[in-house]
Amino acid sequence: MPSPGPIYLDYAATTPLDPRVREAMLPYFSEEFGNPSSVHGYGRRAEAALEDARQRMAELLNAQPEEIIFTSGGTESDNLALRGAALAARQQRGAIHLLISPVEHDAVAKTAAQLADHLGFTLEKLPVDEFGMVNPDEVAKRLDPEPALLSVILGNNEIGTVNPMSEIAAICRERGVPLHSDAVQSGAYLPLDVQKLGVDLLSIGAHKFYGPKGVGALYVRAGTPLLPTQTGGGHESGRRAGTPNVAYILGMVKAFELAQSELDRRVSRLGEMRNKIMNRILVDIPDSQLTGHPEIRLANHASFVFKGVDGNALLMLLDDAGFACSSGSACKTGDPEPSQVLLALGLSPEWALGSLRVTLGVDTTGEQINSFLAALPALVEKARALEAA
């Protein structure tokens, strides 16, 4: 049943908590409140729950429990991966070069920029094609001097494109260059088998797959050097200090189990609706373009640019009409910059400012999609008229 009120089409921004996840978390806010580091019974029970969660998380990723670090979310995972692996690589082998794609989330891009601007690293951006995809051959050409770290996003938050990670990983593996991938958007839509992906570091964040906000994980392949960036007690094997957020970690693992076990069904259902959106919008709305790859993309993700439209104005009109979407150029302070990701695809600012992202999720219905598709063309025209005035 479509819910009354606004139609939520912004699941890439965040997702509602799955009630089954909430249930799994609840005891750890009250009776099972112990600190996993404590010696007594309270602590032991919390530790048992935490380590059980780590084991389950490792299994879902086809990894070992000691390769899992729990964090406060996708952004922290990206920060720890970039800064921790880069600093360790410099310390151990003198490598100071960073190689990232130009379509990374800011959590990666700005961390890399800080390493370059203030901490003595050099930063190079890989080329991408018109779909924002990294060509593994271009990676192979850029491994001299040997980078400290390569970071390539898996499923793109803004344009949905999924990068050919296992091919990129094969090249890195051959040269012994650590490869990090930001998989924060991918948890509910792609199997995250780190052996198949071949990555050395992988970031995820729970609230993108119906878990709570404020918790994430970083996979670090055994033997990958990593300096902690948050220091203190010896939590997480000394790689991430701070009392573990047991309830949220359990919630994340539960959510990840559900997301991965229900993945095929969700992907086929959402993919069908997503394809309908892509096909209809490109036909119904003049001067529209898909952003990202038409097929090799996250199943719930459709993204567009409309020429001569202010993305902020379009979002406002959509919100008023009862549709919650987002835009790569949008910002709550009304201060739009054309998205760096869209510019990297070769779009001009005139197109890049008019971006729209429509992302689907468990509660999305065909009926909702139909009413969205019926409303959008007129709203785009309205937004265009405002710019033309």
Partner: protein, 375 residues
């Protein structure tokens, strides 16, 4: 339900305006303009600093109304700031709030409000509006004459006024503060300021130096007869009526009487030369949409903060107006607006193009006419 967009600023006035309209049964939507600031000075912009936007957003949250930031930076820079720079380049003293109200708030923002299906747009201005079934929408001074802002809204035409709501026009500032307190509305604690928002606290002369350094060329200071008395540091640094900072020793205090932009010359004289009895406007905006057929006896305000003065206003064929004051008016400043009131109603107004000299002292060798050239 009748839908109204409230132009919010995070200040107590627009917040209370939104709350009052909601109580009156309107469907209220908040919008806030993001205006241009010099790069690096955004935090100090008086109209739309990020902190003010946070407050506006909290007010909207408290009222449970939608809130949208609307980016007008490019238009504001191209229209309002350019207007300001061009005005000074012509030797005038422009009032950017006029251009902002005409072209940004009541055009750019109004267009977005109407696109959302709003019937009205409201602001927290202290001004009253009167509607009648067949007649034009009429604009009046606020009940709180100290806070009255009708001067800057004389730029509105019927097309804009028909969509305008001003919920604070019948309230005093202290009543508005009380309503905000009763409703526990978040409000900025910073003191009110009359500074131009985009100057972000700096002196307008520093701003002009940066954007139009060629306007700051030194030149002669002369008296009415053309006799050189000293040197000025750039015409932009002076306003009409200014006494301090001329750097000339004289038995009697000297005042800036006018600027001769073509000759880069500052004209000074004594206090009794300062007043002018007449002025000419540029094109007048008559709020009903057309000029009156006959000259009218009105009260005329020549600056935002000036007292109204009795005058006869004669509409001229080219759309401008001639204003003849009963008493000489000091500080008539080209670039500011002259706004015409009758019984508290704003009938129209236009930018001051030039003033005429005080008739009692016609002895000029500087120019053959009785007009100090300003353009």
């Amino acid at each position: 339900m009748t839908k109204v967009v409230v132009a919010m600023s995070g200040g107590v006035d627009s917040s209370v305006a939104a709350a009052l309209l909601q109580r009156q049964g309107y469907e209220v939507i908040g919008m806030m303009l993001r205006l241009w600031s010099e790069p690096g000075r955004e935090a100090s912009n008086r109209c739309c600093a990020p902190a003010a936007m946070n407050i506006a957003r909290r007010v909207a949250g408290r009222l449970g109304i939608p809130f949208y930031a609307v980016n007008a930076q490019e238009s504001f820079r191209n229209i309002v700031v350019q207007n300001f720079l061009d005005g000074y380049a012509r030797g005038q003293t422009p009032n950017p709030c006029l251009a902002c109200n005409r072209q940004i708030r009541w055009e750019f923002l109004l267009a977005r409000a109407l696109a959302l299906g709003a019937d009205f747009m409201a602001t927290g201005h202290y001004v009253r509006i009167v509607r009648s079934p067949d007649g034009p929408v009429r604009l009046f001074e606020a009940v709180d004459t100290h806070k009255d802002q009708s001067y800057v809204l004389h730029v509105l035409d019927q097309g804009k006024l028909q969509h305008a709501l001003f919920p604070l026009g019948n309230l005093t500032k202290s009543e508005v503060r009380q309503i905000a307190a009763d409703l526990k509305l978040p409000a900025a604690t910073s003191k009110e300021s009359q500074d131009l928002c985009f100057l972000a606290g700096q002196d307008y002369r520093d701003f002009l130096q940066r954007y139009q350094p060629h306007q700051a060329q030194p030149g002669p200071i002369v008296d009415r007869t053309g006799k050189q008395l000293g040197e000025h540091s750039g015409l932009v640094n002076y306003t009409i009526g200014q006494r301090k900072g001329l750097g000339i020793a004289a038995a009697e205090a000297l005042y800036v009487l006018g600027k001769d932009q073509a000759r880069n010359t500052l004209v000074v004289g004594f206090a009794d030369e300062l007043g002018s009895c007449e002025l000419l406007t540029e094109s007048v905006n008559w709020l009903v949409g057309f000029a009156p057929a006959e000259p009218l006896d009105a009260e005329v305000k020549i600056r935002y903060s000036a007292k109204k003065a009795a005058a006869r206003v004669t509409p001229l064929l080219d759309g401008s107006a001639h204003v003849q004051f009963k008493e000489p008016a000091r500080d008539i400043t080209p670039g500011q607006a002259a706004v015409f009131y009758v019984d508290g109603e704003v009938l129209g107004g236009g930018l001051i193009a030039k003033m005429t000299k005080k008739l009692a002292r016609v002895e000029s060798e500087l120019s053959p006419s009785d007009v100090i050239p300003v353009a």
